[in-house]
Symmetry: D2
Subunit: 186 residues, 4 copies
Amino acid sequence: MSKVFDVAVLVGSLRADSLNRRVALALAGMAPSSLALDLVEIGDLPFYNPDLETEAPPAAWARFRARVARADALLFVTPEYNRSVPAALKNALDVGSRPYGKGVFGGKPGAVVTVSPGAVGGFGANHHLRQSLVFLDVPVMQQPEAYIGGAGDLFAEDGSIAKAGTGEFLGKIIHAYADWVARLAR
Amino acid sequence: MSKVFDVAVLVGSLRADSLNRRVALALAGMAPSSLALDLVEIGDLPFYNPDLETEAPPAAWARFRARVARADALLFVTPEYNRSVPAALKNALDVGSRPYGKGVFGGKPGAVVTVSPGAVGGFGANHHLRQSLVFLDVPVMQQPEAYIGGAGDLFAEDGSIAKAGTGEFLGKIIHAYADWVARLAR
Amino acid sequence: MSKVFDVAVLVGSLRADSLNRRVALALAGMAPSSLALDLVEIGDLPFYNPDLETEAPPAAWARFRARVARADALLFVTPEYNRSVPAALKNALDVGSRPYGKGVFGGKPGAVVTVSPGAVGGFGANHHLRQSLVFLDVPVMQQPEAYIGGAGDLFAEDGSIAKAGTGEFLGKIIHAYADWVARLAR
Amino acid sequence: MSKVFDVAVLVGSLRADSLNRRVALALAGMAPSSLALDLVEIGDLPFYNPDLETEAPPAAWARFRARVARADALLFVTPEYNRSVPAALKNALDVGSRPYGKGVFGGKPGAVVTVSPGAVGGFGANHHLRQSLVFLDVPVMQQPEAYIGGAGDLFAEDGSIAKAGTGEFLGKIIHAYADWVARLAR
């Protein structure tokens, strides 16, 4: 039996009906059997504040850190807010990176998918996130780059993917990522 | 009598004894009489989530938006977290930028000061913030760039600035900013 | 009589039939009478190398520096190469920024227009260029941001603009830039 | 016998007595026996211009492309010019990335070392280069990040490294890079 890699998926939008959440679920549905994708809650994490880093940090921080710590790999699916990473996702990075020397991300292979209604496809958020992932020692898949633009009409009313080309591209991404994880996971 | 410009100061750290807060207060103390600096609370803002953008959005959002809307200018003083902008500050941008078409930042002259204990002085956070401020239509002072590194020993025990060179540089920054505000504020 | 501002236009592509050059010429044709746009040659500048910074630097460097020094304002129109600024344009910045303390760009109001056949519209080049312009003390117009994607079919065979919407957007950009120059030029 | 990986080293400064060249040579001297570092000339490459991409492109382009194509891995050592990548190095990326579909960089493991006299250590150039390397499909070592600041007095008059701490850090970098190459090279 082959190894199944546990992938922590962090979605940058908190909307209940988020396009990004739907893309993340679509990727989970297309993933090869070597990957098990799990969407990890980030909306309940108090803002990172060193003053809260006591012997009893916020329970949501502890829960999040423990969940990510046991993952084999990381997948980020996010919109762009103001040409950068949404605060909720940036906060998850800040919380998971601490306490100093005990961050939970280091060494886990990652990929970044940005999704937006506009044409630019979240390019700014994508690369800002990548800059943080250098510091966090997350080796990020380089190609295919995933800037999913025009996402407003990506899904049909029944929840299926309405744009065949984008659907195929998402499949290509998740399979390339599976190869990346297989090469890099420890 | 000359105009006094109301400057909303956003500090990126939530620590009670934050170095960045102290730098912001030092800048307030050095500012020429044409500027009135006011530190605006951002730590209580719920994460931006479009689902909360109802007719009755969170009270903290409304308070923050109203405060910034009446400011003449913006000053950002922030550490770098994971080579980018701390989530609490990014969230303040996200909250203030919405609802669509009703953002509160546009057109107000701004400046970015980054402060960190390390040598790099928050360069990554500084430029990520600037990228967002392009979208938000905040004209940002270009020079002097303010990457305040080695900030761990910037202040003496009595709260005064222990490094004369850095103190002079902060004075230079706030005076250049006063000129920038005088040129650009509407 | 009103002041006419001398605008040095730097085009990032060296192709004879460059789309970017055509966009630059289109902008020149649409500009209000307060602006005189002049495309400045950058393709003949030897790579910046401090060893060449003698009492007799390369003639092309001297010519370029003198031309930009007398301009009132700067307009950059460029494709994206490898998610960043084309080398020829970056070299023009490097040459014009030196010798130390004698750079020719400082204080001149600027704008950045990126043009590409793809959907992303040169976002990466646009913001990398902006980061350099912080250091060079060029106040850059923030809005409208100009990421001109899908440029492969922007022009008709007779050289006119085939996409009416993009044509209107270019007009909006050059008029906003004229306002920016009028406010900021010294 | 173990494999020895052929590493193409691209140095961003063209100065004869460049600090970056000296750092590159120091790294070559410290490298484990699994790596053979070779400094590849980039200063003679004509600016990338699609019009020159004929059946007989410039000889220097052909020479550079052939040299990089046979390398197993890539090491970039560069100063920062105007908060970004020096034009000569960016041009090497532009030349090596073309013709479309025949780029020579893809898949080769890489590392980025930035070296500057100032405190910031070339952070801006480092991350701009990394953004291009995403597009070029070069998997880049994330940690240790290498921002070598204060490089003006790094070398003693006899050419040896005068700062022991920096010397040790360079050794750490080249050994981490050797591990990265061993994991990723094909």
